[in-house]
């Protein structure tokens, strides 16, 4: 039977197990949307901005492990996907994005709403396709979903000229895909794995350093087993949080620029680093020369380009993390000799306990102003780590990473590589669409939330009861922190003032708005938000001058961490202004006009 391009698209999505599409209609996709109207299989979530649809699909993909699907129109619809594509590429999120395109006979003519989206997105997609013949459509879609989900996952874009969506052809969906030029390595090289096992047996102070690859590969069980088998502490990147239980005593917390002291020092003092699905990002390594001066490095990653890109590696293993870890465990268990010396591990664990006692994660509590960290601690206490939590980007993101202890990587949605403000709320909506019965929370800032605030309409109309908790410090907090510490307190354009009134904004969209201005009110508003059936915006006015600590200053090595503001610890490693201590300008908690 002959089908139109639009019908083929829906039929293919059905075969790929897609149930939800995030999108926005427009001129050249009207035919597609007309067919969406007439079918019952696919649920379409109408966003209010195409960037919102992209992050929704990312949140959906991350929370489910499935490929997220987006459908937008040509021109501006397509260009609005670029930030989301780049975000998904950097954080290895599998997406297939369908963009409408002007009819094939108008391609290249600067037609109305034409953009060369293939050219524009070459460097921010894993791959992209322009489908010029309806006969190629089904195979292209099959290849796109295969490419997005396999190997190192990533976003794939399919550009669909209008005439292709109307043209008809016989429909047949291929059962399998063969791409002669694409063949990701899944099983690790056995010889390398044996070398790794030998290095593990020789190590006295090993650390497992794990990243988003553990979550993407579904390797949490293998990682937990390995950590127990070799009695090894575990630290994680931002993207890897939840891949190993955040409440496990072996967990050191996050490492890197805002990691814990014990995680960074354990890496610094270790003699073996086992990197699992992580890519030695600059926010993790600090100054590369002093990163892990005494350690041998085993690096397990499915992407060969991640290996030896930033850092020398002694034992590289290319392969899927879960497969490689399983083989490594087998190799270690095949030998009856003990894997480690008890006394050595006891000494290592004692040293880590010592490091923890030296500089535990912490902040100065207050009964007067709401400390943002206390809000995250309260969220964790109230949810017991069982919520899906997304964040935007900045201080609130780091505090959430530090103080919320994740049990599953699929419960943790954040923009790590690109650092996209505006990611958190739509990502939470995507996760909520996939998991209607779970509690989904966005921790955001007053800056970030405004970058996709229009999606409140999506939340209300589609009945997606996400709870947005704004840690509102009236600033671009992380920018302000850097200006305070490194730009002599010149707060250039980081003050946002107290507008808008987020409670009124929520109400205008038909959501519930709540506010807390005192520490004693926090628990009450959070509980009220959780009890409410629909979407809620909780505006929490926090201490505007609170900084994220500990911190590795830019350019410093990870063992040179700073723990509090310079005026509190003169000579703690941060440069102060000549002849005077850093001063903290007093700011009113409410009301505008008090620009520093």
């Amino acid at each position: 039977m002959k089908l139109t391009g639009s019908e083929i698209l829906v039929e293919c999505l059905k075969r790929e197990g897609v149930d939800t599409v995030f999108g926005y209609p427009g001129g050249v996709v009207l035919g597609l949307y007309d067919y969406l109207y007439r079918q019952t299989h696919l649920r379409h979530v109408l966003c209010r901005h195409e960037q919102g649809a992209m992050h929704m699909a990312e949140g959906y993909a991350r929370a489910t492990g499935k490929v997220g699907t987006v459908l937008v129109t040509s021109g501006p619809g397509a260009t609005n996907t670029v930030t989301g594509l780049t975000d998904a590429l950097m954080d290895s999120v599998p997406l297939v994005v369908f963009t409408g395109q002007v009819p094939t006979q108008l391609l290249g003519n600067d037609a109305f709403q034409e953009a060369d989206i293939i050219g524009i997105t070459i460097s921010c997609t894993k791959y992209n396709f322009l489908v010029k013949r309806v006969e190629d459509l089904a195979r292209t879609i099959k290849e796109a979903y295969h490419l997005a989900a396999s190997g190192r996952p990533g976003p794939v874009l399919i550009d669909l000229p209008k005439d292709v969506t109307f043209a008809q052809t016989e429909f047949s969906y291929p059962d399998s895909v063969y791409l002669r030029s694409y063949n990701p390595t899944i099983e690790g090289n056995k010889g390398q794995i044996k070398k790794a096992a030998k290095a593990v047996r020789q190590a006295k102070r090993p650390v497992l350093y794990t990243g988003g690859g553990v979550v993407a590969s579904g390797a949490s069980a293998e990682l937990t087993r390995l950590a127990g088998l070799i009695r090894c502490p575990v630290t994680s990147t931002l993207m890897g949080l939840g891949g190993f239980s955040g409440s496990d005593p072996r967990f050191l917390g996050m490492l890197g620029m805002h990691g814990t002291y014990k995680a960074n020092m354990a890496m610094y003092e270790s003699d073996l680093v086992i990197a699992v699905g992580a890519r030695f990002d600059d926010r993790v390594t600090g100054k590369v020369d002093d990163f892990v001066p005494n350690a041998k490095i085993i690096h397990i990653d499915i992407d060969p380009t991640s290996i030896r890109k930033n850092i020398r590696v002694d034992i590289p293993i290319v392969g899927d993390v879960a497969h490689v870890l399983r083989t490594l465990i087998e190799v270690l268990e095949a030998n009856d000799e003990p894997i480690y010396v008890d006394a050595e591990r006891a000494a290592w664990e004692a040293r880590i306990a010592e490091l923890d006692a030296e500089h535990p994660l912490g902040y100065t509590h207050s009964d007067e102003v709401i400390k943002p960290q206390s809000v995250v601690e309260k969220l964790y206490a109230l949810t017991q780590g069982r919520a899906i939590v997304s964040t935007d980007v900045g201080q609130h993101q780091m505090w959430t990473a530090q103080y919320y202890h994740f049990e599953s990587g699929r419960d943790w949605l954040t923009s790590g590589g690109l650092g996209t403000m505006g990611y958190g709320f739509p990502a939470a909506l995507g996760a909520q669409a996939a998991h209607p019965d779970r509690l989904v929370i966005t921790v955001s800032g007053d800056g970030s939330f405004q970058m996709n605030i229009q999606e409140l309409a999506t939340a209300v109309v589609n009945d997606l009861p996400v709870k947005v908790v704004i840690l509102n410090n009236r600033y671009l907090g992380m920018v302000r922190q850097w200006q305070q510490l490194f730009y002599e307190e010149r707060y250039s354009h980081s003050y946002l003032a107290t507008t808008p009134d987020f409670v009124k904004v929520a109400e205008a969209y038909g959501a519930l708005g709540l506010r807390a201005t005192k520490p004693s009110e926090v628990e009450g508003v959070l509980l009220a938000a959780f009890r409410h059936k629909g979407p809620v915006v909780v505006d929490i006015l926090t201490d505007p001058m609170e900084n994220v600590y500990p911190m590795v200053p830019a350019g410093a090595a990870n063992h040179q961490m700073v723990f509090c503001d310079p005026d509190q610890t003169p000579g703690a490693g941060l440069k102060q202004k000549d002849g005077q201590g850093a001063k903290t300008p007093p700011l009113p908690l409410t009301g505008g006009g008090a620009r520093p």
């Binding site: 050219g119 070459i122 030896r308």
Partner: protein, 162 residues
């Protein structure tokens, strides 16, 4: 260190642009690039001359391999390769220079592929050094125009003695 990378890539719209884009996005250098279909019209052969230290060449090779359109990458470094370049050189020829020009062409076994009362166009094929050498000898006559293809390279088959 100069490296010659010999690639097989899918002969598709966009493949060249993906490869060139990779070099510019990551700050790698392209000294020359040549591309044309192989005997199998669905595959193009590409020869890229680039330079960098070992770590950079390793990244370039890995990044190229990661591109979906790239079927195979071979680094000629340390292998036995034949490489050739072609140049078309248009030179000024005053009547008294024409004999000298033809002598140079003859010495290099080059060809004159076009001539006018005031010019010759010389075609030369050889390794880069040979092309450089003839250019140097023709330069005093006055070069009007010069186009070079960039290197193409292929592995040598081992000579097996019976």
């Amino acid at each position: 260190m100069i490296h010659i990378l010999s690639l097989k890539v899918e002969n598709r719209a966009g493949a060249l642009s993906r490869i060139a884009g990779l070099f510019s996005a990551r700050g790698f250098n392209i000294d020359s690039l040549s591309v044309a279909p192989t005997a199998d019209p669905s595959v193009s052969a590409m020869t890229i001359v680039t330079h960098g230290d070992d770590a950079i060449i390793e990244q370039i090779t890995k990044q190229l391999n990661k591109l979906i359109d790239v079927i195979k990458v071979v680094d000629a470094q340390g292998r036995n390769y034949v490489h050739r370049e072609t140049a078309l050189i248009k030179i000024h020829t005053r009547p008294e220079d024409r004999a000298e020009a033809l002598r140079v062409v003859d010495i290099f076994r080059a060809n004159v592929v076009d001539s006018s009362p005031n010019s010759y166009t010389v075609e030369i094929t050889g390794d880069s050094e040979k092309v450089d050498a003839i250019i140097n000898l023709l330069r005093p006559l006055g070069i009007k125009d010069l186009v070079r293809t960039g290197k193409v390279a292929v592995t040598r088959e081992l000579n097996k003695n019976p």
